[in-house]
Amino acid sequence: MSAIDHSLRVAPATRIASLAGRIQPQLVLPLIGLGAWAYGVTQLRPSAIGDYGLLASANAFFVLGLVALIAGFVVELARSSPRGWLLTLNLIGLVVAIHATIPIINGGTPEYAWVYKHVGIISSFAHYGRITDPSNIYDQWPALFAAVAAISSLAHVNALSFAAWAPLAFELADALLLFAVFRLLVRDRRVAYLAVGLYEGIIAWVGQDYLSPQAFAFLLWLAMAYVILRWLRAPDAESASRRIAQLRARLVTGMTPAAATTRRQRLVALVLVAAIYFVIVAAHQLTPYVILAGVGALTLLDLLRPRWLLLPLAAIAGAYLAPRYGLISSNFGGLFSGGNPLQNASGSHGTYHPGGEALTAQIVHYLAAAMWLLALGAVLRRRKTVGSVLIPALLAFSPLLILGAQSYGGEAIYRVYLFSAPWCALLIAGLLLELRMPRRLPIRWPLIAVVCLAALFAGLQGLYGPVSVDAFTHSELRASQWLYAHAPRGSLLVLPDDNFPTLQAADYSSYDLQVMPSDPQLGQAWLDEGNPADVQTWIADLGHQTAYLVVSRSMRADAHYFGAPRGYEKLVSEIPSALHGAVVYRDADTTIYRLTFA
């Protein structure tokens, strides 16, 4: 047989692999991707971003940059022995592209109004060095805020100057720990790399990585999970009784064997777990219980040693919660306040304003459903060797137990998604890499690339969709700082819409901040902002002689995007005449009025 005949008979997949092996586009794709992304970002204009978000108004360079990063990642992954440094470079590039875009185009001003509340706690700790507002739930769970206040104090910089970069920092750290945990659970490191890549896409929309206790607690949980799975797994053959041993043997078939450990290592691991868990407990209200669900599921199937590990963890959580239970009760109606899982899973609001909000919500709902369904499919596919997926399956689905107890102010489902996502990503990655394809149909890697791109762009629509609402301009931040610097302490500050960077000052608790009860997303909405007489009566009833009323670009964007509060525009136009508001501050994006009552 001639060489030509031979080459004609070689399967297309082999020929493609051979060609790719020689050309190796993956060596330049990360650089092309990052270069295109960086150029694309310089061409983005925040003012041009509409209701459908950043992706809808992005240029081709921005999109091609992301595609090139995914393409480089998948092409390298397709090699029989992929180079770790190149996959890592692609992943770092991807995380940077996802999470550095918004801080760059916003000039480093943090996203999300609630980040400024966190900055306020940090500033108060850094300034006063103690808890100044014991009735504030954030003050009672101070671990993250105290740590950032320490960093801020040591560097003599305000946390506002670096808060915008928290998502990038948290995601890079999460990716590092996730890769480590995944390597414990799978033999093929390609699965671990692919899982991290998928995770960065499917998690992008949930927005839980800003400067917040839950982002910090999640990072620590990943470290805790590593310690537990590396040093505290039950030895393979050990079980309490013969019957349990038989049942366990069936469940652990195919499981990666537990690493050999010494008594000293286990002791050190226990101390580490207890210390990390205590800090998680002191940082965030809900995370400790999601962790208890995961550790409880592993304990129930006799996969951990010591078997009593759950007890000290529960004791730490309970002991910390008991003296603060009143705050949980007043904020969330108690620990087991909502026993309706379906209602708890519906999120912070069940209806969506037609247009950008509804489309973005629909996309992320499909993404979440696909994630859980594919993960479930991966488990069912491995039902004969369920041990190979048992640990990720338990950790993926145990967070759902939280929905049986709490809605967490409508936020529980997002935390459940966050805690479920890493393990779902691992299950899906395993499923994709094990798919059997016909030899003459080389679509495995194109399919993986399509799945990665679909997850990434769906996640990015969720992340970037509401960016015109979530992002603030420098001038809005300056206006807020002016307000806290010039309004006398004890003043009443009134917001027609809560989407404004308030409470960022160290003495935030010295002011009476009120948001008009006219947004159904924030609870009972009975005040019609379009009726100035009602607004005036409501403000007067708050009992101050003077009030500072703030209106801004971000409030207008919020009211437009969510369709509420409905009377916002009318109120803005009538403040000077009907409410006799005197302008005390005005810039391009914000106006602050002083209202005086007899």
Partner: protein, 116 residues
């Protein structure tokens, strides 16, 4: 124990401690001071612990060093807040402790590797 991995952690602990203290105490600009504070938050305390433990994987060693550092920093800072004894500069003690622990670790490693 993989000597290389834990010894590298000890070297990282030593160098980051010195860098962090130098930047926090002597940085000419707040941004350099911020880098020093972040280094102090992310490396020395974790390295002081992890230089004695081999996590079995480079990513895990680095990740646990980071997480343990943040844990210790958060714990120490929260205790200062709870006790109303706010002295952030006292956290530089973490760098000192890291220098001692990491130097000790390297000394033990050198003794173990020295010919008898």
């Amino acid at each position: 124990m993989s000597r290389t991995r834990s010894e590298l952690t000890a070297y990282a602990g030593l160098s980051s401690s010195i860098l962090a203290v130098a930047l926090v105490l002597g940085a000419p600009t707040p941004w350099l001071g911020l880098i020093g504070a972040l280094v102090l938050a992310c490396v020395p305390a974790g390295a002081a612990v992890m230089c004695w433990i081999d996590a079995g994987e480079n990513a895990a060693q680095a990740g646990l060093t980071l997480a343990v550092s943040l844990t210790i920093l958060a714990l120490a800072s929260a205790i200062m807040i709870w006790l109303s004894a706010w002295q952030p500069r006292a956290l530089l003690v973490l760098a000192g402790a890291a220098v001692i622990s990491c130097a000790l670790r390297l000394r033990v490693a050198r003794r173990a590797g020295a010919p008898r």
